[in-house]
Amino acid sequence: MTTHHLDLPLKADPSSRFLPWIVALMGYLATLSLMIALSVSTLIHHWNRGFQDHITIQVPAGSLFEKESSSAHTEIEVKVRHTLNRTAGVGTVKILSSQEILEILNPWVPKESSLETSFLPQLIDVEIQNRRVFSLPHLRQALHTISPHIVVEDHLTWQSNFLDLARSAQVISFAIVTLIILAAVGTVAFTSQTSLIIHRNIIEVLHLVGATDAYIAKQFQMHAFRIGLKGSFIGFILSGLTILGLQFFIQDLHIPLLENLLSSLSVWSITLVIPCLITLFMMLAAQLTVRLSLRASV
């Protein structure tokens, strides 16, 4: 039975042929964008958890644990430890093994990498218990007198720099999603207006047999719903395939952070909101355009 037939032959409009593909492209780009935003969120979360209030003291390779000068290393180590013990606000001090250093670098360095551990800097992880009494410049100066090669890295600084960068990436991704939805709204408004002109005779007859503007607008909305759903889900599936392809490609690289992200069910289910949003906004755009245009043409 033709319960869902349209009195208006909107399906035959030229726009009905290309619109689903434009919407598919929009859905594709928006889904990828949101995926990036979500990945960055996960990344930020990961880092916030990974580094609390710590500083790292880095002694360039070759200057600490060198086999030839183990006495020199012990001397520097003792001096560093001693300085740290005297510095106010410092908590636990831990010299990281090369295994631990690799683990920190883990998200970035392939698992089975055969990095020459002797090229790694030696790292001392220092927990800061009380920032208010701790003075970084003071410590820097004290360590400099031990060895000018020692570098002190405050996570707080570069972490916040990194967070700024990550957050901008996130904002840009969301802005892209918003722009794409606006573009979908604009496209629907434009094509609906064209259809209103093409079918003005039929619309006049519908009005004369007693159809309200709402009845006519509903037909356009239903049409937008079909195109929106079809197009944006095609885009969603294509973006899914792209991600899966990417995942397949980077699988060989064994970068655990990315692997986790891409196979995360929650990320996928959140991105499902994109086709739904696009479809919803297209329906609203059709409804509103038709109502306003009919009102204006009276």
Partner: protein
């Protein structure tokens, strides 16, 4: 809008119509059409029959004067109420205006469907009506595959399916043979007997005078209401 019975179906008071390019069709036209009446609307081609009907079904707005439908001033009706007012009016257009991509059945069911009647029920009623006007073999046909007379019957079916309070028909018997014309006139009379106000536009004044109903005659931008004169007509026929 309330559905209290109205005394007058249509009331034109001092209505003028001037087209965009300055051509004046009606000036100071006065006309009262009582509820439940049956009227012929006559006048030579170009006298303005179709345009007068168009003003009645709110298809075009007068330049000045007031038009009341069912005792309601049409200038004071909201957009939404225009749709509800039009549901009380059945229109047979001179050029039919069937929707080309819809089947005959869907075209006739349309007025019910826009009122929110379920498609199944609307189509059942439409099928019954089409059966009555002799089109039961064309339910699934598209309008352009029908003859002129058949399309006219579809147009009439669409106009009457909503049981309108007012039926305006523009040359509804123009394209059919005499026998079918009589049958259609009988349909309009039936509706009139059931209380519908009927206005039939025709340039065939003989038809109007034979059927002894009042005639609205359009000439030089004015409307003249002529009451039937049965004896004269009788004499005319006898002579």
């Amino acid at each position: 809008m309330q559905d209290i019975p109205s005394k007058n179906a249509i009331h034109f008071q001092n209505v003028s119509l001037v087209f965009e390019h300055g051509v004046r069709l009606f000036s100071g036209l006065n006309l009262t059409i009582e509820s439940g009446g049956f009227y012929f609307l006559t006048g030579v081609s170009g006298a303005g029959k179709s345009t007068l009907l168009k003003m009645i079904y709110l298809g075009c707005k007068q330049s000045s004067g007031t038009i009341s439908l069912f005792d309601t001033n049409t200038a004071r009706i909201s957009f939404r109420d225009i749709a509800f007012l039009r549901r009380k009016i059945g229109i047979v257009f001179q050029d039919f205006r069937l929707i080309p991509h819809l089947t005959v059945l869907d075209n006739v069911a349309l007025p019910l469907q826009v009122r929110g009647v379920s498609p199944r029920k609307a189509q059942a009623e439409a099928a019954e009506l089409l059966n009555w006007v002799g089109l039961k073999d064309h339910l699934k046909s598209l309008p352009h595959t029908l003859s002129g007379g058949e399309q006219q019957r579809v147009a009439i079916s669409r106009a009457v399916i909503g049981r309108p309070k007012l039926l305006v028909a523009d040359e509804p018997t123009g394209n059919v043979d005499d026998e079918t014309a009589l049958k259609l006139l009988y349909l309009f009379e039936e509706m009139h007997k059931q209380g519908t106000t009927v206005i039939l536009a025709t340039h065939n004044r003989n038809l109007a005078q034979e059927l002894k109903y009042p005639e609205i005659f359009l000439e030089k931008g004015q409307a003249f209401l002529l009451e039937p004169e049965p004896t004269l007509i009788k004499e005319g026929i006898l002579v």
